[in-house]
Structure formats: structure tokens, C-alpha cells
């Protein structure tokens, strides 16, 4: 039983990270119906930014907590500015073009960013400092769930709550929902759609960066390629949950996290991805719109 709980909590941690990244995919898809393949790279850039800032701050002799806060903030801001710029450079000019063009542009952006980080940072795995504090009172339970994992889960929950509030109750959230439902009509109702799209990219990139800092600090090393793997997994999570749906992204992330965790624990860690993608295939066959997705009847 204890083993089960351990795997369950491990899956929860993984799932949280997938969910944080999947949010960016799903929000962007909800608004402009684009799979932003460069999203995983944003996550990776967030992690690298945090690493660079943390290294500098460590040299300057800052204490641990302030390093964590400042490095995370820098990562979030820097990643958000990347998200904003990518949209303006690579997607906005193609907004009226067929959807395939924007998709290819996204893949191009992803390859470009990966290789640019590869050139700047080499392909070696770089050690990432453990930025997250250890809580003394969690010591007795450390074999089930570490402080870092608790922080990851709590941060994710907090981000979800904030995002739900933003979308449900604020004016920007209303504008986002309106834009997602009918962009022209939103324009005619006086909504500045360009700004709404920019904000969607900024928010999605910021949450991805949060995920990047958390996981890098938990695992302890990063290289230029982590964004690709995490991006594919998070994209799977978004599709599992129903792409375009924010609660769906969270649920999809969790389901994927648990699947991997249990598969690793009860079968073999070699089969982790097999189970994850088998689940994806099954969902796509039996419920192509995802767990929480609405079935989309094509509008004419």
C-alpha cells in the first residue's frame, strides 16, 4: 500500500509539471487553434534563464531563498518575453494563412530555439542547483514525498487557481473566452484581439517557465533537449484532457503522470513511454475530443 501511495504521489508531481506546460499549449490552441510546437523550448529557456541567474547570484553570495525567488522571477519574465516575441515574429504574420503554414512556422521556431541554445550552451548536461528549500517537518515522510515534490504540487495548484480566476472573473479572461469563441465578433465588440493573443502567449510562457524552474531544480540537470521531450509529453497531456480546455490540461497532465508512474513502478521503467503513448492512442480512438473536450462539429 505504501508503495502504491509513493507511486501515486510521484505521478502527481510529474503530472503537475506536465499540466503546467500543457496549459500553454491548450490556451494558445483555444484562442488561435495553433499547436505551438515552440512551447517546450520556452520551458527549456525558462530553466536556462533560472540557471544563469542563480549562478550569478550564488557568486554574489545571495541566500538560498532570495536566489530561488529572483531566479524564478527572471525566468518567468524572460520566458514570457520569448513567448510574446515568437508570436509576433512567427505566428502573427501568418494569422490569415492556412493553418498548416503557422504549424510549420512553429516547428521551425522550435528547431531554431533548440539549436540556438545548443550553440550557446553546448549539448552537455549542466548541473542545476537545488534551489528549493527542505522543510524540516516533512523529514519523516521524505521517503514518500520530498519537500521539493510538495512545493511542485502546491505551486501547480496555486497557478491553476490563479489561472481559473483570471479566465472566469477578470475582464481579460472574458476577452479571452470571447476571442476563443468568435474572433471577428470579439473585434466588433471592441476587444483588442491582438492584445488578448499576446497575453495568452505571455501567460502560457510564464507558466511553462515556472514548470521549467521547478523540474530543473528537482532533477538537478538540464540541457538544450529537455524542452522537446517535456513538450511532447505535455502536448500529449493537453490532447488527453481535451485540447483547448484548461481543466482538461490539468486532468490530462495528472492522468499521464500517474500512468507513467504506475507503469514504471509495477512494470518497468523501460515501458514508461509505451504506456503513456498507448493511453494517448486509446483516447484518440475512443474519445478523440479528449477527456473533457467538447466534440467539435465543424462550423460552416
Amino acid at each position: 500500500m505504501e508503495y502504491f501511495i509513493e507511486l501515486f504521489l510521484g505521478g502527481l508531481t510529474r503530472g503537475s509539471i506536465y499540466a503546467l506546460i500543457a496549459l500553454g499549449y491548450t490556451m494558445v490552441y483555444g484562442i488561435i487553434e495553433l499547436i505551438n510546437f515552440a512551447h517546450g523550448e520556452i520551458y527549456m529557456i525558462g530553466a536556462f534563464t533560472a540557471l544563469i541567474v542563480a549562478s550569478v547570484l550564488t557568486l554574489l553570495g545571495f541566500n538560498e531563498l532570495s536566489i530561488l525567488v529572483i531566479a524564478s522571477l527572471c525566468a518567468v519574465i524572460w520566458a514570457a518575453s520569448y513567448g510574446f516575441t515568437i508570436e509576433k515574429l512567427a505566428y502573427k504574420p501568418l494569422r490569415k494563412a492556412p493553418r498548416l503554414s503557422a504549424l510549420i512556422s512553429a516547428i521551425g521556431m522550435s528547431i531554431f530555439l533548440q539549436n540556438y541554445v545548443l550553440l550557446a550552451q553546448t549539448s552537455d548536461f549542466l548541473p542545476f542547483p537545488a534551489l528549493m528549500p527542505e522543510f524540516g517537518f516533512l523529514e519523516p515522510y521524505a521517503h514518500i514525498m520530498s519537500s521539493a515534490e510538495v512545493i511542485i504540487v502546491l505551486t501547480t495548484a496555486l497557478v491553476m487557481a490563479a489561472l481559473t480566476f483570471l479566465i472566469k472573473f477578470t475582464r481579460l479572461g472574458k476577452a479571452m473566452r470571447a476571442t476563443a469563441q468568435d474572433r471577428d465578433m470579439a473585434l466588433l465588440s471592441g476587444v483588442n484581439v491582438n492584445r488578448v493573443i499576446s497575453f495568452t502567449f505571455i501567460i502560457g510562457s510564464a507558466t511553462a517557465a515556472v514548470g521549467g524552474v521547478l523540474i530543473a531544480s528537482h532533477i538537478g540537470m538540464i540541457n538544450f533537449y529537455i524542452g522537446f521531450i517535456a513538450g511532447i509529453k505535455a502536448f500529449t497531456a493537453a490532447v488527453l484532457g481535451g485540447i483547448g480546455s484548461v481543466p482538461g490540461a490539468v486532468l490530462g497532465g495528472m492522468v499521464l503522470g500517474w500512468t507513467e508512474s504506475f507503469a514504471t513502478g509495477y512494470v518497468s521503467s523501460d515501458y514508461e513511454d509505451v504506456f503513456a503513448f498507448t493511453l494517448l492512442v486509446l483516447i484518440l480512438i475512443f474519445r478523440p475530443e479528449g477527456i473533457l473536450g467538447r466534440s467539435t462539429t465543424q462550423k460552416v
Binding site: L166, T170, R171, L172, K174, A175, R177, A178, Q181, D182, D184, M185, A186, L187, L188, S189, G190, V191, N192, V193, F199
Partner: protein, 262 residues
Amino acid sequence: MEPILDVKSITMDFGGLRALDRLDLDVQKGEIVALIGPNGAGKTTFFNCITGLYSPTRGDILITPPGKKTERINGLKPNHVTERGLARTFQNIRLFQNMTVLENVMIGRHCRTRTGVAGAMLRLKSAREEEQTIVDHSRAILERIGLSQFVNDLSKNLPYGAQRRLEIARAMATDPFLLLLDEPAAGMNAQETRELDNLIKKICDEDGISILLIEHDMKLVMSLSDRIFVMDYGRKIAQGTPEEIKNDPEVIKAYLGEDPDA
């Protein structure tokens, strides 16, 4: 007196197809003007040009909002056109289906408010107060349009006639000086059309909003309009009072075809 909307000789080409051909039209303050014509005459294209969804190939669209200077609005983005005081509805209903009736109207107030994202997220006092004003104002509009019993319903669950009225309510929330209605009576029964007739008159007389409407229901057009413009094949073929239009041979020809005996 400057007309509040003055369209001068606009042409709209889609590749080789000329959808609008040197069309002139004007709306004076306080007027209800109808734009009629057979299907495919270019009426909706004309609305799309005015509201910024299309950018006309040639010609000028000038607006003179009350108390402001005349301005050329060709090529402005739709949200900027809306900010300048033009609002419209669509021929096929285009509500934000999965939002409540109140939210639909509140979206329309968006462009009349100043609170930024930061303010809204931090729940600053000014932002909360402004939000409350928007809610109050939106409720007041719904009250006027006769939709107050539906405030918290999802808009897709409303009866058809109510959905049509909600489109008008949302357009009115943007504080327009000119309201463009694209076939507001389409699909309505006789009772609903009568109510619409009264509603449009009320908006024009009491709120001082001028109206430009596209409509096929001739009874409604004749009852409402101060002036009528008739289009066919992208051109204006007649303009005048309802009486003049009724007896215009060009109009009869466009609608009924040539009389073989004539």
C-alpha cells in the same frame, strides 16, 4: 449639418469580382435608414467594409460622431471602428454562446473602460468599482431590451427572438452613435417582428442612436425607415422615402425581373 456616416463612392473588389461598385450612402443624425436589395446584392459586404472587417478597394468612409470632427475610417481595425462609435449585429446570430447573457453584454463595454490587466488581477479598488459600474450598466441595457429575466443564462439557451435581441443589447453596450443591424428580423415570427419594430424605434428616439439596417421584411422596412437605399449587383439603383421606393420602376425590376410585355 454633416451626415454622421458619409460613404463616398466605395468599391470593393474580390479578385475579379466587383462586390461593391462606386456606392454612395449617407445617414443623418437621428435617422433610420434601410438598405435593401436582392440576395447577393452586396449589402453585407457593405456592412463589412464600414465596420473594418474588409478594407474597401477605393472610396471614402467618413464618420462624424456627435461633437467630434469628421474622420476617415477606411482600413481601421474592427475594434477601433467600434471604439469610434459604430456597432453592428450579424445576419446569422453570433453570440458568445458559452457565456452568460450578462457576460455577452459586458464584453461590449470592454472598449469603454480603462482598467488594465494588472489592475484587474490585483483587484484594485478602482478596478472593482469600474467592474461594478459595467455590471450595473449592462443590467440596465438588458432591462431596456427586455432580457432581464435571462441575465445569468448561457446565451445559447435563449429562445431565438431573445438571442436576436441580445445581439442588439451587446452592440448597444459599446455606446454607439450609429447601430448597423444586419437582417434583425430574419427568422422572427410576426409577434417578434412587431416587438422588434418597437424596440428599434425606441432605440432611435429615446437613446438618440441612428440606425442603418439591412432587411428583407418589407413591412418592417416601410414602417421603420425614414429613407431607403436600394442595391443590386453592388450598385445603388435607387434611394428615397418609402413612398418613392415603392413606386420606383428600377426597384420593381430588380426584385421581380423585367416585365416581358413592357
